[in-house]
């Protein structure tokens, strides 16, 4: 399997080397992730940098109910839920310093992790431009005045959810989509996984586990206490981050830089985003 650095897209500018180095480091850990083989920077080969990884067989379930039916039956949900938490706990247990992943840049102690992530996504919103979005602004104002502090800095996947893992033989075969991996607060991945967009009308986070069940299993598997206030901060931040991604896509479409109509669809899907923001803020 070859993954070439995208020329443009929702998270531009792209650099695939950090995710390659993280995936290489994860080979020595229990985290189920594709094994990477080599990285090629020379643009003479395929115009843009790329890396090669082993093919992982499986299917990618999406976090969307079809005709009101659950994404997973109870058995699958139990197995995959356990794998989902187990892999997250294993990821957060990686000794990133020993694994030579310092190059990802550890945030400053205290509120540094939260401040850096908020600034990152505020930057995307600002670059996307477009008309005012008051509900998004409200969430950003709330986040700015409530930055949580933490001394726990771990690897953070950044997009840990149903839709980003492969299932084979009823188990999670690999966690994929590592392009947002960074060093930060482990509660960030929990907040992202709890965002309503990944569960719709299902009571299960990512269609896998009830919220309290997710927290309890994560505490058991990681030995780390779940700080609900921090998870809530990151759940609100998750909506700002997702909004920033959608606005970036819309901006590219508006400017005629992409013909991908999925970017234009974000215009209509903004209704779901608005409701997700309102729910995360406790307004709905």
């Amino acid at each position: 399997m070859l993954r070439r650095q995208p020329a443009a897209g929702l998270l531009e500018p792209y650099d695939t080397e950090p995710e390659f180095r993280v995936l290489a480091a994860l080979a020595a850990t229990p985290v189920r992730a594709p094994r990477v083989l080599w990285y090629e920077r020379d643009p003479a080969v395929f115009e843009r940098p790329f890396y090669v990884m082993e093919l992982v067989r499986g299917t990618v379930p999406l976090p969307v109910m079809v005709d009101g039916k659950p994404v997973f039956d109870d058995d699958a949900r139990a197995r995959l839920g356990e794998d989902f938490v187990g892999n997250l706990a294993a990821l957060h247990a990686v000794d990133w310093h020993a694994a030579d992943l310092d190059f990802l840049g550890a945030p400053a102690p205290g509120t540094g992790a939260a401040a850096r992530e908020l600034a990152r996504w505020e930057g995307y919103v600002a670059r996307a431009g477009g008309p005012p979005r008051p509900l998004l602004t409200e969430a950003v104002l709330w986040l700015r005045r409530g930055l949580p502090a933490t001394d726990e800095i771990t690897l953070v996947h950044g997009d840990y959810r149903t839709g980003n893992f492969l299932v084979d033989g009823g188990r999670i075969a690999a966690i994929v989509d590592w392009e947002m991996v960074h060093l930060g607060d482990p509660m960030e991945d929990l907040g992202w996984a709890c965002m309503t967009l990944w569960r719709g009308e299902s009571p299960y986070m990512c269609h896998l586990l009830e919220r309290e069940q997710l927290y309890a299993r994560y505490e058991q598997r990681s030995g780390r206490r779940v700080d609900r206030a921090r998870v809530h901060f990151y759940e609100v931040l998750a909506t700002v981050k997702m909004a920033a991604i959608m606005l970036t896509g819309l901006h590219a479409f508006r400017e005629g830089r992409t013909r991908d109509l999925r970017m234009a669809l974000f215009d209509h899907q903004w209704a779901y985003m608005s409701v997700a923001i309102a729910q995360a803020r406790g307004f709905l």
């Binding site: 999406l62 969307v64 079809v66 477009g130 008309p131 005012p132 979005r133 008051p134 509900l135 602004t137 409200e138 104002l141 709330w142 005045r145 819309l250 479409f253 508006r254 005629g256 013909r259 991908d260 109509l261 999925r262 234009a264 669809l265 215009d267 209509h268 899907q269 903004w270 209704a271 779901y272 608005s274 409701v275 923001i277 309102a278 307004f283 709905l284």
Partner: protein, 157 residues
């Protein structure tokens, strides 16, 4: 605030012509794509978002700003209240509906920034609540009109 219909239709036409058409082999199907392109070219500059829907949204925003201005005044923030009322009046004079929507949304943001800055001030919660109620109602209105996403079908082709 949404993308103008002309921008959406032009984008759909571009995708049909440059990404879909080259993959269509049936002559009949290719002919239908060209028919769709001609149709899109003819309507793209003639359509706009439904006026009654947009007017309802604008009226709700203006009413929320009116309430917020009254609450700002009651909280002693007279200058902020005056600025909000001026913004609503200025928006009403704009001939273009989308520009009015933008101006009202900017005023809503302004109120939220004031509410955040003055968050310790007694009565400021009522300012925030006036705007919040409109934003939540608007989100729900948008959701009621949105079609269920075809994410599975889009990803599987």
């Amino acid at each position: 605030m949404r993308l103008p219909p002309a921008v959406i239709l032009a984008g759909v036409a571009r995708t049909l012509e440059e990404d879909v058409l080259p993959a269509v082999e049936s002559r009949t199907a290719r002919g239908l794509v060209f028919a769709a392109l001609e149709m899109l070219a003819n309507v793209q500059d003639l359509v706009e978002w439904r006026a009654d829907v947009r007017e309802e949204e604008l009226a709700s925003a203006a009413a929320a700003l009116g309430d917020a201005a009254a609450q700002l005044e009651a909280s002693g923030l007279t200058a902020d209240a005056a600025r909000v009322r001026d913004a609503v009046a200025a928006a009403a004079r704009l001939p273009d509906r989308e520009a009015r929507g933008c101006a009202l949304d900017a005023a809503l943001e302004d109120v939220l920034v004031v509410a955040d800055r003055e968050r310790e001030r007694p009565g400021i919660d009522a300012v925030h609540a006036a705007v919040r109620a409109h934003l939540v109602n608007q989100a729900v209105r948008d959701l009621m009109r949105a079609q269920r996403p075809l994410l599975n079908r889009i990803s599987q082709g």
